[in-house]
Symmetry: C2
Subunit: 202 residues, 2 copies
Amino acid sequence: MAMGRPREFDVDKALDLALQVFWSKGYEGASIADLTETMGITKPSLYSAFGNKEELFRKALDRYVDGPGGYFQVALAKPTIRAVVEHLLYESADAVTGPDHPPGCLAVQGALTCGDAAESIKQELVSRRAKGEQDLRERFERAIAEGELPQGSDAADLAAYLSAILQGMAVQAAGGTTREQVRKIAEMALRTWPPPPDLATV
Amino acid sequence: MAMGRPREFDVDKALDLALQVFWSKGYEGASIADLTETMGITKPSLYSAFGNKEELFRKALDRYVDGPGGYFQVALAKPTIRAVVEHLLYESADAVTGPDHPPGCLAVQGALTCGDAAESIKQELVSRRAKGEQDLRERFERAIAEGELPQGSDAADLAAYLSAILQGMAVQAAGGTTREQVRKIAEMALRTWPPPPDLATV
DNA sequence: TCACTTATCTAACGATCGGTAGGAAATTGG
DNA sequence: CCAATTTCCTACCGATCGTTAGATAAGTGA
């Protein structure tokens, strides 16, 4: 079946290497030269296999979400809301400080700001973060309905609050904060969890 | 005294405009063309007045810290630790969603990641964030010494925790989250403040 | 008025950006 | 062995990057 000259590199391995570059330098900071050098392929090979820089980033992002970022969906599937939050915090702390990949979170630092040319990538990351927060919100809604959280708790607010803490941990990690220190942030957040509903608005 | 042809633009106003550009696009995303266009001056004027792109950014950053970011030091000077934390959270929520400037925080989104050429700018921002966290830590140490916080509280952990929340709020704002929603994050953080010391480590 | 200083502008610099033509090399099917 | 197909690489594309040379204009001090 496979006709023509066979590809000499592993597409998935190359994509993993591209992911590392985008993760550490961001979309704009990662040049095609950076990428091809790390991936061990030439520019025409990159373009033939992945389309262009933007498509390559999107494929790397998908791979990130299913790989190093996969703990997020795993955490959401935990049986109790307490376990969900615990796993999100602890796994995030470890994920953003993993020793085998760049620090931080691709969805945060891939393009938090950018020039005009990368605007659509930035929007893609905004959407991904919003999607994660939305999934979290729905999980909280279920927990409230099942009586796992106090009456009057606002699922959207809880999701925004926890998302902010996770993103803050990612910023800290991107700046070089150690795994131990980031874990302490997670522990402190957990020590106060859940924040009680705002009685003033009930 | 003033010899030579007088400058035709206001350096401080031009710097404020440059700040807006760096704030919304980040260091790498802001091109010299973007900057000169917004500042209303030509490239040679920019270079003669500000040195180069890196120096311009550092000057804009100083201006940011003393201007839109000035609430941070103001908050630290509040008399009670409760007031410090309240002001940090509320003023941050408003600052990162201010209607008269780009959303988010320059110290976070100016260069969270970048290419090799901007590495020193990224480090500068890492240092600034660390400095803010250190100032906060010292304020917490004072509060603990004065009995304003529970025995066994760890000032460094509290500072890292609060810093992460503030940075998370900045990420949310950079993604377009509304002022009302960011304020709710601040309120929730305040509702659980202060996190109790970890009894397991005492 | 005339040197001196500084700011202004147009026009360009070399380097790098993302992206591609075009031909040689390696495989499959006939 | 030969066409067809696909990947490989070298070399190059135009555009943009940050930065500057060089000439002109507008002030000050003598």
